[in-house]
Symmetry: C2
Subunit: 407 residues, 2 copies
Amino acid sequence: MLIVQKYGGSSVANPERIRRVARRVVDLRRAGNEVVVVVSAMGDTTDDLIELVKRVSSNPSDREMDMILSTGEQVSIALLAMSIQTMGEKVVSLTGPQAGIVTSDTHTKARIEDIKTTRLRQELDAGKIVVVAGFQGVNSHNDITTLGRGGSDTTAVALAAALKADLCEIFTDVDGVYTTDPRMVPEARKLDSVSYDEMLELAHLGAGVLHPRAVECAKIYNIPLHVRCSFNNEPGTIVEEVNRMEKTLVVTGVAHDLNVAKIGIFDLPDRPGIAYRIFKTLADASINVDDIVQSSMRDGTNNISFTVTQSDIRRALTLVEDKIVADVWAGGYTHEPEVAKVSIVGAGMVSNPGVAAIMFEALADENINLDMITTSEIKISCIIKHVDGERAVKALHRKFKLDQEPV
Amino acid sequence: MLIVQKYGGSSVANPERIRRVARRVVDLRRAGNEVVVVVSAMGDTTDDLIELVKRVSSNPSDREMDMILSTGEQVSIALLAMSIQTMGEKVVSLTGPQAGIVTSDTHTKARIEDIKTTRLRQELDAGKIVVVAGFQGVNSHNDITTLGRGGSDTTAVALAAALKADLCEIFTDVDGVYTTDPRMVPEARKLDSVSYDEMLELAHLGAGVLHPRAVECAKIYNIPLHVRCSFNNEPGTIVEEVNRMEKTLVVTGVAHDLNVAKIGIFDLPDRPGIAYRIFKTLADASINVDDIVQSSMRDGTNNISFTVTQSDIRRALTLVEDKIVADVWAGGYTHEPEVAKVSIVGAGMVSNPGVAAIMFEALADENINLDMITTSEIKISCIIKHVDGERAVKALHRKFKLDQEPV
């Protein structure tokens, strides 16, 4: 089998942990598998580098940020390769550029566009374990790019897809995907398997175990993901295409995201192109917009509300104030710098129309007010006050009996 | 003017010093020059990385060492570029591979073979200050190589040569080239200028200010080097082709190297190919041999003695014992793990035959025994007991009146 493994920063946080990872990788190789290992920067390395940057510049260019941050993974891959060498296995470390990971030009948030597998194949064919730096690649200018936080998951899945791997194992410091955040709700239960779509919603909504782009990529190329803990040998959670005919579970998990800010633009003229103008301006500034809700007023005008991460709110507000309001002839805008988003996720929801009502009931029982509601086929999300976030998650987990094994 | 500047590790040891370097670079740019800056890793970074490596492996491969050590300069170039950005100048950082620095394949001791200047020229033409990572390049396998300690000087000079720079400034923590090590001899005097050949001998012999490969490269391409201190604006020492007709100075400086080990191989048959076999075996193991002395015995056999750095002595001895003695039908071998080398250097020596005698007199007066003697046109070196090294340097400095301005 060709297996791609990915180890996060906490799994390689110090030399002892690196040796443990090396041991696991070598065992897998000796069992007759071809192994590609993707690693993140060691523990706090990225944060340490960011601290160093702050002492030099308050506003460094994204290109130079990528230049400095990409060294974190480069250190990890060399150390892991050295550790594997001490166990007598052939191994080679490759930076993102060396591994042929070609990305878009956008620094700090690059997307993988292609993986040129010549070198990877050549090293695997030579019998080597290949250790690849996650989170990074090279753009069309031969500049080093990074994929943004959590990008190492994407590196692993993209490599698995490009190499047609049989399995992609994502090692992390938790032992799988839970019905909700176990730090918040102790009764949270580990799921044996979830579908790509469910995982996608859970990832997007702050479950935090897997980067959503990694899940998207795995879904497109149908790569089974095994999310598991690097500190033990227990099975974790398999993310794969699930046949829902066999399952009766309506709600799989409760997700939350406390890092949400909201902007509302009101008194918009009711004509084509308004939404386009707003979100084109934000997209051009690389601001990721999460939820969007548009509602029509009685007077024929529209309101559009949307959410962004809290770190983007300042830049987004500047654009709204300086450009967007005038561009779209808006009456004005409002914003909430800190709100929370809670969501229930489940592939069975689509055929169970009463689920939304049960969710709203649970929140009403807690006297939690709903600010925005958005729905998809497999999830329902509510934007609520930041302070109500944790209470909402607990109430929903209880209401949908997620602490109990499904029948 | 196109000026290449190089700043060593102590000049960029912390954010404050990086800002000071940025200031100097920006000033040079604003004075109308094109500027390429080569930087080393920050202060102790390389040592810290080596410590980290030791916790993972006692015998890492050279390729992986290069992978990890090259991150040190990558951090420096990004930080310096960011600092220059805060001052409003256009700047781009380039790793060795990005700067087109193509090296031989040998890891940890690669030699620069070519510099593909397309990208460098393009960035300079765009009006940018270009910050290049010293000490590193890329080999024919697209692997990252390092040039070995001191290689950043070589990077700077090679870039100056490839870009046909007008001047190459080497900033360091000392303010120039001295008649001998001022830490050892307080009366040591700073030299205003030295020739390439003198500098080459001084560098080779442990003066430590400039890497000898850098001086060689500067000599070949006739690049004037200005060795100066990064902490002040004083002129340092110019290294350039000097017309000795105008100078009466016979001895320019006294060099020493306390990091020397000696091996003697005796009772060698007097036939062609013996020296070749010995030094081919050592060269294949990438052991740098410094001095070689061969002498013929009365019985028709030869003895060959040579010196290596102390860090190479164990490997060299293993080769001598396991292979070389049998290969060349030698009677046996001896070794001294710690000896010292003292040398007098001066381009005027060639026309002053009495200089050697004065040197030997000074050492005899100190009761210092001579173990090996080697000479070139511009230097005379003696291998002596390690314990006598410092005393010999002081005696020679005094004897040749190097503390006094030349007439």
